[in-house]
Amino acid sequence: MIEVRDVTHGFAERDVIRSVSVTLTEPRVGIIGANGSGKSTFARLFNGLVIPRDGEVLVDGLSTRTDAAAVRRTVGFVFTDPDAQIVMPTVAEDVAFGLRRRRLGAEDTRRRVFAALSAVGLEIFADHPAHLLSGGQKQLLALCSVLVTEPRVLVCDEPTTLLDLRNTRRVLEILRGLPQQVVLVTHDLDSVADYDRVLVFDEGALVADGPPAAAVGHYRALIG
């Protein structure tokens, strides 16, 4: 469960999140809004990448301000650009990187890495140089590298923006089948059509919150 309590946050003189309070318990939550509406900053609050100037964010009762490390182990984050998330030279090594601090044995690590790669269909690329993957495969690798750590919540900030239609469908299909709570920030309104709840942001404010049809309708009316 993610609780956002009266959060306001800004850079310099400008507030990008203004007095937002919301509790997210649904398995699938979408966040939509125009560029610069504050939705990505809002998503970054959930795993402590952004600590709010005012207010508080709690994940399963843990504060992002005081329990940041525990929160990050609970909340995985997938960014838009997969190239900026891949740390190691080969596919399997990058997935294994997330497990380094767990001090698992080599066999346990290998087993977990292979299982995670198999779940996204990348097992045949295990020893492949990561930089030679296609854009879609790189995003799947980024997703896999987060999922291998078994977070309870997965936040994805526009993970399909740089992908073609086939890879977009593949990523969304994987997200749909995950047991984790998924929070998806997106411009692709169709991708949240079957979600449990959709939040709409405009100029830092939460202006609509409800079932996808109503929230998307509000957003369409907002942008004219």
């Binding site: 795993n47 182990r73 984050f77 650009d81 900026a84 740390v87 030279p89 767990r102 001090r103």
Partner: protein, 203 residues
């Protein structure tokens, strides 16, 4: 840039620590060679090592990037110290680089990092974070293809806007994009818990 090539050869199976120790010893031995005949012998042994690892096909790719350096170095050494020194000094460099390449072709980066981390661990007492040093090495290796990719994109964008280019018009966007990438990478590392203490119990 070398990346690991999977295999079952004796070099693949050898522990990373043994390979690094062997490489260090080989480097010292190569530095002590002071004749063209000795360099030829060292080169022969290096070729045999590649063959025994099933990586003979990868040898030309190790030497090719050095070709202009070799030409320049041989010319400079021949002019200043004679042909014997030119062959010996250049040969040492080529053998050393190709031997180091063999290590990266037969060893996973994570295994190399584990060795670096173990070797640097005693330095923790004087404040050196061995895990972080190992990570910096991994990021440096990973940065090569990323920055090369950015350079190609900037060059293509420059060409698309016209045939005439300038060093400044090429360097500024490349530096800006590289810094942006570094920023995004830093954020991703934080999100993956790089700065966090290890959990008390593994899940």
């Amino acid at each position: 840039m070398n990346t690991f090539v999977p295999g079952r050869s004796w070099l693949h199976l050898l522990p990373a620590s043994a390979k690094l120790a062997g490489l260090t010893a080989a480097m010292v031995a190569v530095l002590l060679v002071d004749s063209p005949a000795g360099i030829a012998a060292a080169g022969g042994v290096t070729v045999l090592l590649y063959v025994s690892a099933g990586l003979a096909y990868a040898l030309p790719a190790q030497v090719r990037p050095l070709r202009w350096l070799v030409v320049g170095l041989v010319a400079l050494q021949a002019l200043t110290a004679g042909w014997t020194a030119a062959v010996t000094v250049t040969g040492r460099l080529v053998v050393a680089v190709v031997l180091a390449g063999l290590i990266t072709l037969t060893t996973r980066v994570v295994d190399l990092l584990d060795v670096f981390e173990r070797v640097l661990r005693p330095l923790r007492r004087v404040g050196v974070d061995s895990e972080r040093v190992a990570l910096v090495l991994a990021l440096a290796i990973r940065a090569v293809p990323v920055v090369a990719g950015l350079a190609v994109e900037v060059r293509d964008a420059q060409r698309a806007r016209g045939p005439r280019g300038s060093v400044r018009a090429y360097a500024v966007p490349l530096v800006v994009r590289t810094l942006r990438h570094a920023d995004a990478l830093g954020e991703a590392l934080v999100a993956r818990g790089l700065d966090d203490p290890p959990p008390v119990r593994g899940r």
